[in-house]
Protein backbone atom coordinates (compact mmCIF):
# COMPACT_ATOMS: atom_id res chain seq x y z
CA UNK A 1 0.00 0.00 0.00
CA UNK A 2 2.83 2.39 0.96
CA UNK A 3 4.42 1.87 -2.42
CA UNK A 4 1.14 2.80 -4.03
CA UNK A 5 0.99 6.07 -2.11
CA UNK A 6 4.51 6.97 -3.27
CA UNK A 7 3.56 6.46 -6.88
CA UNK A 8 0.14 8.08 -6.37
CA UNK A 9 1.63 11.32 -5.01
CA UNK A 10 4.36 11.15 -7.66
CA UNK A 11 1.73 11.82 -10.29
CA UNK A 12 1.80 15.45 -9.17
CA UNK A 13 5.54 16.00 -9.68
CA UNK A 14 5.20 16.91 -13.34
CA UNK A 15 2.47 19.49 -12.62
CA UNK A 16 4.52 21.02 -9.80
CA UNK A 17 7.48 21.33 -12.16
CA UNK A 18 5.24 22.83 -14.86
CA UNK A 19 3.76 25.43 -12.51
CA UNK A 20 7.22 26.44 -11.32
CA UNK A 21 8.89 26.56 -14.73
CA UNK A 22 6.09 28.32 -16.62
CA UNK A 23 5.18 30.62 -13.72
CA UNK A 24 8.80 31.65 -13.24
CA UNK A 25 9.42 32.06 -16.98
CA UNK A 26 6.38 34.30 -17.23
CA UNK A 27 7.53 36.35 -14.24
CA UNK A 28 11.13 36.61 -15.46
CA UNK A 29 9.90 37.87 -18.84
CA UNK A 30 7.24 40.27 -17.56
CA UNK A 31 9.63 41.56 -14.92
CA UNK A 32 11.80 43.12 -17.65
CA UNK A 33 9.33 45.68 -19.03
CA UNK A 34 8.24 46.26 -15.46
CA UNK A 35 11.75 47.20 -14.27
CA UNK A 36 12.22 49.42 -17.32
CA UNK A 37 9.04 51.26 -16.32
CA UNK A 38 9.96 51.23 -12.64
CA UNK A 39 13.26 53.00 -13.37
CA UNK A 40 11.95 55.24 -16.17
CA UNK A 41 12.67 58.95 -16.06
CA UNK A 42 9.02 59.81 -16.73
CA UNK A 43 7.33 60.17 -13.35
CA UNK A 44 3.84 58.80 -14.10
CA UNK A 45 5.29 55.70 -15.79
CA UNK A 46 7.49 55.07 -12.77
CA UNK A 47 4.60 55.56 -10.35
CA UNK A 48 2.36 53.21 -12.29
CA UNK A 49 4.97 50.47 -12.22
CA UNK A 50 5.61 51.08 -8.56
CA UNK A 51 1.90 50.94 -7.73
CA UNK A 52 1.51 47.74 -9.72
CA UNK A 53 4.45 46.10 -7.96
CA UNK A 54 3.26 47.13 -4.51
CA UNK A 55 -0.29 45.90 -5.10
CA UNK A 56 0.78 42.59 -6.62
CA UNK A 57 3.25 41.90 -3.84
CA UNK A 58 0.90 43.11 -1.13
CA UNK A 59 -1.75 40.49 -1.88
CA UNK A 60 -0.96 36.86 -0.94
CA UNK A 61 -0.48 34.39 -3.77
CA UNK A 62 -3.39 32.27 -2.59
CA UNK A 63 -5.72 35.26 -2.90
CA UNK A 64 -4.46 35.90 -6.44
CA UNK A 65 -5.15 32.25 -7.23
CA UNK A 66 -8.76 32.54 -6.08
CA UNK A 67 -9.22 35.92 -7.80
CA UNK A 68 -7.90 34.80 -11.17
CA UNK A 69 -9.59 31.39 -11.05
CA UNK A 70 -13.01 32.62 -9.84
CA UNK A 71 -13.06 36.28 -10.84
CA UNK A 72 -13.52 36.19 -14.63
CA UNK A 73 -16.26 33.53 -14.56
CA UNK A 74 -18.39 35.91 -12.48
CA UNK A 75 -18.65 38.18 -15.48
CA UNK A 76 -18.99 35.50 -18.12
CA UNK A 77 -19.17 31.79 -17.24
CA UNK A 78 -17.72 30.92 -20.65
CA UNK A 79 -14.40 32.41 -19.48
CA UNK A 80 -14.06 29.30 -17.34
CA UNK A 81 -12.72 27.44 -20.38
CA UNK A 82 -9.82 29.92 -20.56
CA UNK A 83 -9.24 30.28 -16.84
CA UNK A 84 -8.85 26.61 -16.08
CA UNK A 85 -7.21 25.77 -12.76
CA UNK A 86 -3.86 25.13 -14.45
CA UNK A 87 -3.89 28.32 -16.54
CA UNK A 88 -5.10 30.42 -13.61
CA UNK A 89 -2.36 29.03 -11.38
CA UNK A 90 0.37 29.81 -13.93
CA UNK A 91 -1.09 33.29 -14.44
CA UNK A 92 -1.18 33.98 -10.68
CA UNK A 93 2.33 32.63 -10.09
CA UNK A 94 3.55 34.56 -13.14
CA UNK A 95 1.96 37.78 -11.92
CA UNK A 96 3.45 37.61 -8.44
CA UNK A 97 6.82 36.50 -9.86
CA UNK A 98 6.85 39.43 -12.29
CA UNK A 99 6.59 41.90 -9.40
CA UNK A 100 9.30 40.12 -7.41
CA UNK A 101 11.58 39.66 -10.40
CA UNK A 102 11.24 43.36 -11.30
CA UNK A 103 12.54 44.20 -7.83
CA UNK A 104 15.37 41.68 -8.13
CA UNK A 105 16.30 43.19 -11.50
CA UNK A 106 16.15 46.67 -10.02
CA UNK A 107 18.52 45.69 -7.22
CA UNK A 108 20.95 44.20 -9.74
CA UNK A 109 20.75 47.30 -11.88
CA UNK A 110 21.74 49.39 -8.88
CA UNK A 111 24.68 47.07 -8.26
CA UNK A 112 26.22 47.95 -11.63
CA UNK A 113 28.61 50.83 -11.21
CA UNK A 114 27.50 54.05 -12.87
CA UNK A 115 30.92 54.29 -14.51
CA UNK A 116 29.86 51.51 -16.88
CA UNK A 117 27.15 53.77 -18.31
CA UNK A 118 29.69 56.54 -18.48
CA UNK A 119 32.20 54.40 -20.37
CA UNK A 120 29.52 53.58 -22.95
CA UNK A 121 28.59 57.25 -23.26
CA UNK A 122 32.21 58.37 -23.64
CA UNK A 123 32.70 55.82 -26.41
CA UNK A 124 29.69 57.34 -28.15
CA UNK A 125 27.66 54.13 -27.93
CA UNK A 126 23.90 54.64 -28.27
CA UNK A 127 22.16 54.38 -24.90
CA UNK A 128 20.23 51.29 -25.96
CA UNK A 129 23.47 49.49 -26.92
CA UNK A 130 25.06 50.29 -23.58
CA UNK A 131 21.90 49.01 -21.86
CA UNK A 132 21.68 45.75 -23.80
CA UNK A 133 25.33 44.90 -24.44
CA UNK A 134 27.05 46.30 -21.37
CA UNK A 135 24.62 46.70 -18.49
CA UNK A 136 22.12 43.85 -19.03
CA UNK A 137 24.66 40.99 -19.21
CA UNK A 138 26.31 42.17 -15.99
CA UNK A 139 22.91 42.66 -14.39
CA UNK A 140 21.86 39.10 -15.23
CA UNK A 141 24.98 37.78 -13.53
CA UNK A 142 24.25 39.75 -10.39
CA UNK A 143 20.59 38.69 -10.50
CA UNK A 144 21.25 34.95 -10.77
CA UNK A 145 21.57 34.06 -7.06
CA UNK A 146 18.49 36.01 -5.98
CA UNK A 147 16.45 34.81 -8.97
CA UNK A 148 17.44 31.20 -8.33
CA UNK A 149 16.47 31.49 -4.67
CA UNK A 150 13.14 32.93 -5.72
CA UNK A 151 12.54 30.18 -8.30
CA UNK A 152 13.33 27.51 -5.71
CA UNK A 153 10.84 29.16 -3.37
CA UNK A 154 8.26 28.89 -6.14
CA UNK A 155 8.61 25.09 -6.24
CA UNK A 156 7.17 25.09 -2.73
CA UNK A 157 4.75 28.00 -3.19
CA UNK A 158 3.23 26.28 -6.21
CA UNK A 159 1.62 23.90 -3.67
CA UNK A 160 -0.97 26.65 -3.10
CA UNK A 161 -2.34 25.81 -6.56
CA UNK A 162 -3.86 22.69 -4.96
CA UNK A 163 -6.46 25.01 -3.47
CA UNK A 164 -7.93 25.69 -6.91
CA UNK A 165 -7.67 22.07 -7.95
CA UNK A 166 -4.41 21.82 -9.87
CA UNK A 167 -3.29 18.18 -9.76
CA UNK A 168 0.16 18.78 -8.34
CA UNK A 169 2.08 17.09 -5.50
CA UNK A 170 0.15 18.59 -2.60
CA UNK A 171 -3.21 17.94 -4.28
CA UNK A 172 -2.43 14.24 -4.64
CA UNK A 173 -1.06 14.08 -1.11
CA UNK A 174 -4.17 15.71 0.26
CA UNK A 175 -6.42 13.34 -1.69
CA UNK A 176 -4.45 10.29 -0.52
CA UNK A 177 -4.48 11.53 3.07
CA UNK A 178 -8.25 11.93 2.92
CA UNK A 179 -8.85 8.39 1.71
CA UNK A 180 -6.29 6.68 3.99
CA UNK A 181 -6.80 8.84 7.12
CA UNK A 182 -3.03 8.97 7.43
CA UNK A 183 -0.39 11.72 7.44
CA UNK A 184 2.01 9.54 5.46
CA UNK A 185 1.15 11.10 2.07
CA UNK A 186 2.29 14.47 3.40
CA UNK A 187 5.63 13.02 4.46
CA UNK A 188 5.92 11.66 0.95
CA UNK A 189 5.00 15.06 -0.53
CA UNK A 190 7.68 16.66 1.65
CA UNK A 191 10.23 14.15 0.40
CA UNK A 192 9.35 14.94 -3.20
CA UNK A 193 9.67 18.69 -2.62
CA UNK A 194 13.10 18.17 -1.09
CA UNK A 195 14.04 15.94 -4.00
CA UNK A 196 13.14 18.84 -6.29
CA UNK A 197 14.63 21.74 -4.34
CA UNK A 198 18.01 20.32 -3.32
CA UNK A 199 19.23 19.54 -6.86
CA UNK A 200 17.86 22.90 -8.04
CA UNK A 201 19.78 24.75 -5.33
CA UNK A 202 22.89 22.81 -6.25
CA UNK A 203 22.48 23.63 -9.94
CA UNK A 204 21.92 27.32 -9.13
CA UNK A 205 25.10 27.38 -7.08
CA UNK A 206 27.06 25.78 -9.92
CA UNK A 207 25.72 28.33 -12.38
CA UNK A 208 26.62 31.19 -10.07
CA UNK A 209 30.16 29.93 -9.57
CA UNK A 210 30.59 29.51 -13.31
CA UNK A 211 29.40 33.05 -14.06
CA UNK A 212 31.48 34.50 -11.26
CA UNK A 213 34.64 32.85 -12.52
CA UNK A 214 34.17 34.58 -15.85
CA UNK A 215 33.93 38.06 -14.41
CA UNK A 216 36.41 37.68 -11.55
CA UNK A 217 37.09 41.23 -10.57
Amino acid sequence: MTGNIWSFVAQGIFATAQLTVFGFALGAALGLPLVVMRTASIGPVRWMARGFIEIVRGVPLVVWLFLIYNGPTQFDPRLGSIFTSGASAIAAIGLVSAAHMAEIYRGSLKAINHSQWEAGAALGMPHIDTATKVIAPQMIRVAVPASAAYAIGLIKDSSLASTIGVFEITYYANTAAGSTSSALPFFIAGAYYIALTIPSAWAARRLDIRLRRKVAR
Binding site: E118, A119, L123, G124, A216
Partner: protein, 266 residues
Protein backbone atom coordinates in the same frame (compact mmCIF):
# COMPACT_ATOMS: atom_id res chain seq x y z
CA UNK B 1 69.63 85.02 -35.98
CA UNK B 2 69.78 81.26 -36.26
CA UNK B 3 68.53 80.76 -32.72
CA UNK B 4 65.25 82.37 -33.74
CA UNK B 5 64.56 79.91 -36.51
CA UNK B 6 63.03 77.13 -34.45
CA UNK B 7 60.88 79.68 -32.67
CA UNK B 8 59.64 81.11 -35.94
CA UNK B 9 58.69 77.73 -37.39
CA UNK B 10 56.84 76.93 -34.20
CA UNK B 11 54.90 80.16 -34.43
CA UNK B 12 54.17 79.47 -38.09
CA UNK B 13 52.85 75.97 -37.41
CA UNK B 14 50.73 77.32 -34.58
CA UNK B 15 49.23 79.89 -36.91
CA UNK B 16 48.40 77.28 -39.55
CA UNK B 17 47.03 74.59 -37.24
CA UNK B 18 43.39 74.98 -36.27
CA UNK B 19 42.52 74.41 -32.64
CA UNK B 20 41.52 70.81 -32.00
CA UNK B 21 39.82 71.80 -28.75
CA UNK B 22 38.51 75.24 -28.01
CA UNK B 23 36.70 76.09 -24.80
CA UNK B 24 35.16 79.54 -24.43
CA UNK B 25 33.87 80.77 -21.08
CA UNK B 26 32.92 77.29 -19.97
CA UNK B 27 31.02 77.41 -16.72
CA UNK B 28 29.65 74.63 -14.56
CA UNK B 29 27.54 75.22 -11.51
CA UNK B 30 25.55 72.98 -9.23
CA UNK B 31 22.94 75.34 -7.84
CA UNK B 32 24.88 78.12 -6.18
CA UNK B 33 28.10 76.18 -6.15
CA UNK B 34 30.34 77.18 -9.05
CA UNK B 35 32.73 74.41 -10.04
CA UNK B 36 34.09 76.03 -13.19
CA UNK B 37 34.32 79.80 -13.53
CA UNK B 38 34.30 80.95 -17.15
CA UNK B 39 37.22 78.85 -18.30
CA UNK B 40 38.66 79.41 -21.76
CA UNK B 41 41.46 77.46 -23.33
CA UNK B 42 42.71 76.19 -26.66
CA UNK B 43 44.55 73.04 -27.62
CA UNK B 44 46.02 73.00 -31.11
CA UNK B 45 46.12 69.92 -33.26
CA UNK B 46 48.94 67.63 -32.21
CA UNK B 47 49.45 69.45 -28.94
CA UNK B 48 49.54 67.85 -25.52
CA UNK B 49 47.84 69.80 -22.77
CA UNK B 50 48.48 68.94 -19.14
CA UNK B 51 46.05 70.08 -16.47
CA UNK B 52 47.43 70.18 -12.96
CA UNK B 53 46.33 71.65 -9.67
CA UNK B 54 45.00 70.67 -6.26
CA UNK B 55 42.02 68.32 -5.90
CA UNK B 56 38.73 70.11 -6.19
CA UNK B 57 40.21 72.66 -8.57
CA UNK B 58 37.85 71.54 -11.34
CA UNK B 59 40.39 69.79 -13.60
CA UNK B 60 38.38 66.62 -14.07
CA UNK B 61 35.13 68.54 -14.43
CA UNK B 62 36.69 70.66 -17.16
CA UNK B 63 37.99 67.57 -18.96
CA UNK B 64 34.59 65.88 -18.68
CA UNK B 65 32.95 68.96 -20.19
CA UNK B 66 34.98 68.46 -23.37
CA UNK B 67 33.05 65.28 -24.26
CA UNK B 68 29.94 66.42 -22.41
CA UNK B 69 29.99 63.70 -19.78
CA UNK B 70 29.45 66.78 -17.67
CA UNK B 71 27.02 69.28 -19.17
CA UNK B 72 28.43 72.78 -18.86
CA UNK B 73 25.93 75.40 -17.67
CA UNK B 74 27.51 78.10 -19.80
CA UNK B 75 29.98 78.68 -22.62
CA UNK B 76 30.93 77.05 -25.90
CA UNK B 77 32.87 73.90 -26.66
CA UNK B 78 34.41 73.21 -30.05
CA UNK B 79 36.14 69.96 -30.89
CA UNK B 80 37.51 69.41 -34.39
CA UNK B 81 35.07 71.87 -35.88
CA UNK B 82 31.96 70.64 -34.03
CA UNK B 83 30.61 73.37 -31.78
CA UNK B 84 28.22 72.87 -28.89
CA UNK B 85 26.69 75.74 -26.97
CA UNK B 86 25.73 75.16 -23.37
CA UNK B 87 22.69 77.44 -23.39
CA UNK B 88 21.14 75.52 -26.30
CA UNK B 89 19.60 72.14 -25.78
CA UNK B 90 22.16 69.61 -26.94
CA UNK B 91 20.57 67.11 -29.30
CA UNK B 92 21.59 63.50 -29.73
CA UNK B 93 23.16 64.15 -33.13
CA UNK B 94 25.47 66.89 -31.82
CA UNK B 95 26.37 64.70 -28.88
CA UNK B 96 27.23 61.74 -31.11
CA UNK B 97 29.21 63.99 -33.49
CA UNK B 98 31.23 65.41 -30.64
CA UNK B 99 31.83 62.13 -28.83
CA UNK B 100 32.90 60.35 -32.00
CA UNK B 101 35.82 62.79 -32.15
CA UNK B 102 36.89 62.38 -28.55
CA UNK B 103 38.36 59.32 -26.85
CA UNK B 104 38.48 59.17 -23.08
CA UNK B 105 40.53 57.22 -20.56
CA UNK B 106 39.29 57.10 -16.97
CA UNK B 107 41.08 56.80 -13.67
CA UNK B 108 39.26 53.56 -12.92
CA UNK B 109 39.67 52.14 -16.47
CA UNK B 110 35.95 51.31 -16.78
CA UNK B 111 36.47 48.28 -18.97
CA UNK B 112 33.48 46.02 -19.45
CA UNK B 113 34.20 43.18 -17.00
CA UNK B 114 32.09 40.57 -18.79
CA UNK B 115 33.99 40.82 -22.07
CA UNK B 116 37.49 39.81 -23.10
CA UNK B 117 40.01 42.53 -23.90
CA UNK B 118 39.38 41.84 -27.57
CA UNK B 119 35.59 42.26 -27.27
CA UNK B 120 36.02 45.38 -25.14
CA UNK B 121 37.88 46.98 -28.01
CA UNK B 122 35.80 45.50 -30.86
CA UNK B 123 32.25 46.07 -29.58
CA UNK B 124 32.29 49.91 -29.62
CA UNK B 125 33.73 49.88 -33.15
CA UNK B 126 30.88 47.65 -34.31
CA UNK B 127 28.23 49.73 -32.54
CA UNK B 128 29.55 53.23 -33.13
CA UNK B 129 31.33 52.99 -36.48
CA UNK B 130 29.38 50.06 -37.92
CA UNK B 131 32.51 48.04 -38.58
CA UNK B 132 32.09 44.33 -39.18
CA UNK B 133 33.07 41.96 -36.39
CA UNK B 134 36.08 40.71 -38.35
CA UNK B 135 37.28 44.20 -39.16
CA UNK B 136 36.78 45.41 -35.60
CA UNK B 137 38.63 42.45 -34.09
CA UNK B 138 41.49 42.79 -36.55
CA UNK B 139 41.89 46.43 -35.51
CA UNK B 140 41.62 45.38 -31.86
CA UNK B 141 44.49 42.93 -32.30
CA UNK B 142 46.60 45.62 -33.97
CA UNK B 143 45.99 48.04 -31.12
CA UNK B 144 46.65 45.42 -28.45
CA UNK B 145 50.00 44.77 -30.10
CA UNK B 146 50.67 48.49 -30.10
CA UNK B 147 50.07 48.81 -26.34
CA UNK B 148 52.17 45.71 -25.75
CA UNK B 149 49.34 43.34 -24.87
CA UNK B 150 49.05 41.09 -27.92
CA UNK B 151 48.86 38.04 -25.64
CA UNK B 152 45.96 39.39 -23.56
CA UNK B 153 43.33 39.46 -26.32
CA UNK B 154 41.25 36.64 -24.85
CA UNK B 155 41.77 37.59 -21.22
CA UNK B 156 39.00 39.11 -19.11
CA UNK B 157 39.85 42.46 -17.51
CA UNK B 158 39.63 40.97 -14.02
CA UNK B 159 42.60 38.76 -14.88
CA UNK B 160 44.75 41.70 -15.96
CA UNK B 161 46.82 44.05 -13.80
CA UNK B 162 45.71 47.66 -13.42
CA UNK B 163 48.39 48.83 -15.83
CA UNK B 164 47.29 46.27 -18.39
CA UNK B 165 43.64 47.23 -17.93
CA UNK B 166 44.44 50.87 -18.49
CA UNK B 167 46.37 50.05 -21.66
CA UNK B 168 43.40 48.02 -22.90
CA UNK B 169 41.21 51.04 -22.13
CA UNK B 170 43.54 53.25 -24.19
CA UNK B 171 43.37 50.77 -27.06
CA UNK B 172 39.57 50.74 -26.80
CA UNK B 173 39.41 54.52 -27.11
CA UNK B 174 41.94 54.62 -29.97
CA UNK B 175 40.01 51.99 -31.90
CA UNK B 176 37.35 54.59 -32.69
CA UNK B 177 39.94 56.82 -34.42
CA UNK B 178 39.40 59.86 -32.22
CA UNK B 179 40.80 63.26 -33.13
CA UNK B 180 41.44 64.05 -29.49
CA UNK B 181 42.24 61.90 -26.46
CA UNK B 182 41.27 62.87 -22.92
CA UNK B 183 43.01 61.29 -19.93
CA UNK B 184 41.45 61.72 -16.51
CA UNK B 185 44.16 60.88 -13.97
CA UNK B 186 45.05 57.73 -15.90
CA UNK B 187 47.69 56.54 -13.45
CA UNK B 188 46.20 57.63 -10.12
CA UNK B 189 44.74 54.20 -9.36
CA UNK B 190 47.97 52.39 -10.21
CA UNK B 191 51.10 51.36 -8.39
CA UNK B 192 54.02 53.51 -9.55
CA UNK B 193 55.56 50.69 -11.59
CA UNK B 194 52.30 49.90 -13.35
CA UNK B 195 51.76 53.60 -13.96
CA UNK B 196 55.03 53.71 -15.88
CA UNK B 197 53.84 51.29 -18.55
CA UNK B 198 50.75 53.44 -19.06
CA UNK B 199 52.80 56.64 -19.25
CA UNK B 200 55.06 54.98 -21.82
CA UNK B 201 52.09 54.28 -24.08
CA UNK B 202 50.87 57.85 -23.61
CA UNK B 203 54.27 59.24 -24.46
CA UNK B 204 54.34 57.22 -27.67
CA UNK B 205 50.91 58.54 -28.57
CA UNK B 206 52.07 62.10 -28.00
CA UNK B 207 55.14 61.48 -30.16
CA UNK B 208 52.90 60.23 -32.95
CA UNK B 209 51.10 63.58 -32.92
CA UNK B 210 47.87 62.73 -31.11
CA UNK B 211 46.12 65.74 -29.62
CA UNK B 212 45.80 65.05 -25.91
CA UNK B 213 44.43 66.67 -22.79
CA UNK B 214 45.67 65.08 -19.59
CA UNK B 215 44.61 65.65 -16.01
CA UNK B 216 47.47 64.33 -13.96
CA UNK B 217 49.39 64.37 -10.71
CA UNK B 218 52.51 63.05 -12.48
CA UNK B 219 54.49 66.28 -12.50
CA UNK B 220 57.55 64.82 -14.18
CA UNK B 221 55.39 63.50 -16.99
CA UNK B 222 53.53 66.79 -17.35
CA UNK B 223 56.82 68.65 -17.59
CA UNK B 224 58.43 66.25 -20.07
CA UNK B 225 55.56 65.43 -22.37
CA UNK B 226 53.15 68.35 -22.47
CA UNK B 227 53.42 71.30 -24.83
CA UNK B 228 51.14 73.46 -22.77
CA UNK B 229 50.52 73.46 -19.06
CA UNK B 230 47.40 74.73 -17.32
CA UNK B 231 47.42 75.15 -13.56
CA UNK B 232 43.94 75.26 -12.07
CA UNK B 233 42.63 76.15 -8.65
CA UNK B 234 39.17 77.00 -7.32
CA UNK B 235 37.45 76.38 -10.64
CA UNK B 236 39.60 78.70 -12.69
CA UNK B 237 42.91 78.86 -14.50
CA UNK B 238 45.60 80.23 -12.21
CA UNK B 239 48.43 80.13 -14.65
CA UNK B 240 49.18 78.67 -18.05
CA UNK B 241 52.01 78.51 -20.51
CA UNK B 242 55.15 76.61 -21.33
CA UNK B 243 55.58 73.71 -18.89
CA UNK B 244 59.34 74.15 -18.50
CA UNK B 245 58.93 77.83 -17.69
CA UNK B 246 56.13 77.33 -15.20
CA UNK B 247 57.94 74.55 -13.38
CA UNK B 248 61.14 76.60 -13.34
CA UNK B 249 59.59 79.94 -12.40
CA UNK B 250 55.90 79.93 -11.49
CA UNK B 251 54.45 83.44 -11.62
CA UNK B 252 51.54 82.98 -9.25
CA UNK B 253 51.75 82.41 -5.51
CA UNK B 254 49.00 79.78 -5.76
CA UNK B 255 51.03 77.82 -8.33
CA UNK B 256 54.17 78.10 -6.18
CA UNK B 257 52.29 76.73 -3.16
CA UNK B 258 50.90 73.85 -5.16
CA UNK B 259 54.18 72.91 -6.83
CA UNK B 260 56.05 73.12 -3.55
CA UNK B 261 53.51 70.81 -1.95
CA UNK B 262 53.70 68.15 -4.67
CA UNK B 263 57.38 68.38 -5.53
CA UNK B 264 58.62 68.34 -1.94
CA UNK B 265 56.84 65.07 -1.45
CA UNK B 266 59.11 63.17 -3.82
Amino acid sequence: MTEHVPLDTKDLSAAVASPAIKLENVEKRFGDHVVLKQVSLTVDEGQVLALIGPSGAGKSTLLRCINLLERPTGGTITVDGVTVQADHKINARELAALRSRVGMVFQSFNLFPHMTALRNIALPQQRVLGRSKGEAEERAHTLLRRVGLADKALQYPGRCSGGQQQRIAIARALALDPKVMLFDEPTSALDPELGLEVLKVMRELADEGMTMAIVTHEMQFARDVSDHLVVMSDGGITEEGDPQEIFAAPQQQRTRDFLRAVLDRR
